[in-house]
C-alpha cells in the first residue's frame, strides 16, 4: 500500500481532495441540522446566536473527527487551520457586502452613455440615462495622477532622509510627518483653500485639489516607504559602500531598486488614501458640470467623489442612481489602479 504513495506520480503534499472536502462538509451539515433543531426546541433565537452555536459545533466535530483518525496533533492543526481561515474570511465579509451592494445599486443605471456624457445642460429632473460622469472620471484620474506626481518624490525623499541619511532633523521630520498623518482631510482642504485658492488668488482648480490630496498622501507614502527601506538588508548597503560607492549612489542603485515593489505598495496605499476623499475637494476643485481636462490648472473641476456628493445631495431619484453608478466606477478605478501597480511592482523591467 505504502509503496504506491512513495514512488508514483509527483504530487503536492497535503492537497485538498474529495476526502478532505467530505470531512469538512459533513460536520458542517450536521452542525446546521443540530443547531436548527436546538433553535426550534429551546429558547435560543436570533441569527447571530445561530451562527455562533453552529460554528462552535462544527469546529468541535471537525476537531474530534481529525483527532480520532489522525491523532491529537493533526486534530489541533486542522481545527486551528479552519479557525484561522474562517477568521480571514470573516474580515473580507464586510468588503464583499459593500462591494456587492455598490455593484447591485450602481450597475442598474450604468450605461455606456454614463462614461462619455457629462452633466452639462442636463435638467435637474432628467432621467438617469441623460447625463454621465465622463467629466468626473477624467477629473479624478487627472487629480489623483497629479497628486501622486507631486507627492511621491517628496514622500520617497522624506523616507530616504529618515532611513538612509539620518540627518540631525530626523526627530523633527518624524514629528511633522506623524502630525500630517493625523491631519483631518478637511483641514488639508482648508489649508490649500486659504493659501492657494484665496491667499495666492489662484482660484478653484483641479490643481488645487491635487495639492490638497498630495498633502494627505505624503505621510502615508513617506512612512510606508520608510518601513520598506528598513526591510532592505543592511549587508547590501555595506557591500555597496565597500565597492567604493558614495551614499547617494548606494541609495539610488541599490536601496531603492531593492525596495522597489515595497515603494510601489507605498504609493498604492497613498492613492487608496486619497482617491475617495471628498471633503478637501469641496474647497479646492469645487465641482463642475463640464469636462475641462485642459483647464485643470485654472478652472473648477469635477471628480467622482464630488460628483457622488453633488448628485446625492440633489436627492432626485435619477441623481441618486447616477451617484451609485459613479460609486461603482470609483471603486473599479481604484481596483484597476491596484492591479496595475501590483503588476508593475512584480515584473523587472527588461534590459
Amino acid at each position: 500500500m505504502s509503496t504506491a504513495s512513495v514512488s508514483g506520480a509527483p504530487r503536492r503534499p497535503r492537497t485538498f481532495g474529495r476526502r478532505e472536502a467530505t470531512e469538512l462538509i459533513a460536520p458542517l451539515a450536521i452542525a446546521g441540522v443540530v443547531t436548527t433543531v436546538l433553535f426550534a426546541i429551546t429558547p435560543l433565537a436570533g441569527p447571530v446566536g445561530f451562527v455562533i452555536v453552529m460554528y462552535s459545533l462544527f469546529i468541535a466535530q471537525y476537531y474530534w473527527y481529525a483527532r480520532r483518525t489522525h491523532g491529537v496533533k493533526a486534530g489541533v492543526d486542522r481545527a486551528v487551520t479552519v479557525v484561522i481561515s474562517s477568521a480571514a474570511a470573516f474580515t473580507i465579509l464586510p468588503l464583499v457586502f459593500i462591494m456587492g451592494f455598490v455593484v447591485a445599486k450602481g450597475a442598474k443605471s450604468l450605461t455606456w452613455g454614463f462614461f462619455h456624457h457629462t452633466m452639462e445642460g442636463v435638467a435637474p429632473g432628467a432621467p438617469a440615462s441623460a447625463g454621465g460622469a465622463f467629466h468626473a472620471i477624467i477629473g479624478t484620474l487627472i487629480q489623483v495622477a497629479l497628486a501622486t506626481f507631486i507627492c511621491v518624490p517628496f514622500g520617497v525623499l522624506t523616507a530616504v532622509y529618515l532611513q538612509e541619511v539620518r540627518g540631525r532633523f530626523v526627530p523633527l521630520v518624524r514629528v511633522i510627518v506623524d502630525a500630517m498623518s493625523g491631519l483631518p482631510s478637511i483641514v488639508a482642504g482648508l489649508f490649500i483653500f486659504a493659501v492657494w485658492v484665496v491667499g495666492l488668488g489662484q482660484g478653484f482648480s483641479g490643481l488645487a485639489a491635487s495639492l490638497a490630496l498630495g498633502v494627505l498622501m505624503l505621510p502615508t507614502v513617506a512612512r510606508t516607504t520608510e518601513e520598506m527601506l528598513k526591510l532592505v538588508d543592511p549587508s547590501l548597503r555595506e557591500a555597496s559602500t565597500a565597492l567604493g560607492a558614495p551614499q547617494w549612489r548606494t541609495v539610488l542603485r541599490v536601496v531603492l531598486p531593492t525596495a522597489r515593489s515595497g515603494i510601489i505598495t507605498a504609493v498604492i496605499l497613498g492613492i487608496a488614501r486619497i482617491a475617495g476623499e471628498t471633503a478637501p475637494l469641496l474647497m479646492t476643485s469645487f465641482g463642475n458640470d463640464r469636462a475641462n481636462p485642459t483647464k485643470t490648472l485654472s478652472e473648477p473641476q469635477e471628480s467622482l467623489p464630488l460628483f457622488i456628493y453633488r448628485q446625492i445631495t440633489s436627492s432626485q431619484g435619477a441623481s441618486v442612481d447616477r451617484a451609485w453608478s459613479a460609486a461603482l466606477v470609483l471603486v473599479a478605478i481604484v481596483l484597476v489602479l491596484f492591479v496595475v501597480a501590483r503588476v508593475l511592482g512584480r515584473t523587472r523591467p527588461a534590459k
Binding site: 555595506e238 557591500a239 555597496s240 565597500a242 565597492l243 560607492a245 542603485r253 541599490v254 531593492t258
Partner: protein, 276 residues
C-alpha cells in the same frame, strides 16, 4: 602552491623583516573602540604585495574589526573609534590624500554572508562596482567574462547572465560577490570568513580562486579553519583577546613557521586546536 614556490619566503625563514618587504598594506598602531570599550590594541601588521595573509584567532578577538579598519568600513559603525594608521603603498588611507570611497575602490571586501544585489542580474552584479562608482568601461562583456573566470564562476553562469543574482546557489553567490569585487580591479581584497557559509566543494573553489588572484592582488583573509589558513595563506597573524586585555597580535609570520614551529605557546595551542 605559492607557499612553496615563492623564493622570498624560503630565504627569510625568521620573522618578516619590514624593511625588505614590499608592503601593499601596512597597519601601524591600530587600536579600536566601540563606545568606551577598547577591542583592539596596538596592532601592527605588514601585508606583503601579492601574497595571501590569513588572520586567525578565537571568536571575538577583533579580526573582523581589524579587517574593517583596512578599508575604512570600521568608521561606518556609529560608536566606532580608531587610533593608528594604515598605509596603502605608503599613503595613509586615513590621511587627506585619499578619499574613503577611493580607498574602498582600491581595497575591496568580501563578506561572510554572500550578499549579491537582489535587484540586479548576474551581469549587473559583476558590473555594479563600476556603476556604483561612476566608472566608465570600454568592453563590459569582456570585463564580465574576465571577472567571472577569475572567480571560477563563468562556466556555471555563462548561459544565465541575465538571471537575478539571488537565483544562484549560496556558493555561486559568494563567488559572484568575489567577481563583483574583482571587476573594479582592486589592489587588495579583504575577505571575512568567505567560506563559512559554504559547502566543502564551494569552499575548495573559492580557495582556488584566492590562490589564483593572489598572483596580482594582495589578499587578507579571516578564517576559523586552520586547514584553510594553511592551504591558502603565505603569512599568518594570530589575534587574541585576553581577560583585561583587548585584542592584539600574539604572533605573526610565515604560515609554515606559525603552524610547525610557533614562537609563542598560545599560538601553538591555538593552531593545534587546544584552545577556547
Amino acid at each position: 602552491m605559492s607557499i612553496t614556490m615563492s623564493p622570498a619566503h624560503n630565504i627569510e625563514s625568521a620573522a618578516v623583516n619590514e624593511r625588505t618587504v614590499d608592503a601593499a598594506l601596512r597597519a601601524e598602531g591600530i587600536s579600536c573602540w566601540f563606545g568606551k570599550r577598547k577591542v583592539l590594541e596596538d596592532v601592527n601588521l605588514v601585508m606583503e604585495r601579492n601574497t595571501v595573509v590569513a588572520l586567525i584567532g578565537p571568536s571575538g578577538c577583533g579580526k573582523s574589526t581589524f579587517l574593517r579598519t583596512l578599508n575604512r568600513m570600521h568608521e561606518l559603525t556609529p560608536t566606532a573609534a580608531l587610533a593608528g594608521a594604515v598605509y596603502l603603498n605608503d599613503v595613509d588611507i586615513y590621511g587627506p590624500e585619499l578619499k574613503a570611497s577611493v580607498t574602498r575602490q582600491r581595497i575591496g571586501m568580501v563578506f561572510q554572508k554572500p550578499n549579491p544585489f537582489p535587484a540586479m542580474s548576474v551581469r549587473e552584479n559583476v558590473l555594479s562596482g563600476l556603476k556604483l562608482t561612476g566608472t566608465k568601461v570600454g568592453n563590459s562583456e569582456e570585463l564580465v567574462q574576465w571577472a567571472l573566470l577569475k572567480a571560477s564562476l563563468w562556466e556555471e553562469v555563462k548561459n544565465r547572465l541575465d538571471a537575478p543574482g539571488g537565483s544562484l546557489s549560496g556558493g555561486q553567490q559568494q563567488r559572484l560577490c568575489i567577481a563583483r569585487s574583482l571587476a573594479v580591479k582592486p589592489e587588495v581584497l579583504l575577505m571575512d570568513e568567505p567560506c563559512s557559509a559554504l559547502d566543502p566543494t564551494s569552499t575548495r573553489r573559492v580557495e582556488e580562486t584566492i590562490s589564483e588572484i593572489a598572483d596580482d592582488i594582495t589578499v587578507v583573509i579571516v578564517t576559523h579553519n586552520m586547514q584553510q589558513a594553511q592551504r591558502v595563506s603565505d603569512t599568518c597573524a594570530f589575534f587574541l583577546a585576553e581577560e583585561n586585555r583587548p585584542g592584539h597580535i600574539v604572533e605573526s609570520g610565515l604560515t609554515e613557521q606559525m603552524f610547525t614551529n610557533p614562537a609563542d605557546p598560545r599560538t601553538n595551542d591555538y593552531v593545534n586546536g587546544r584552545f577556547g
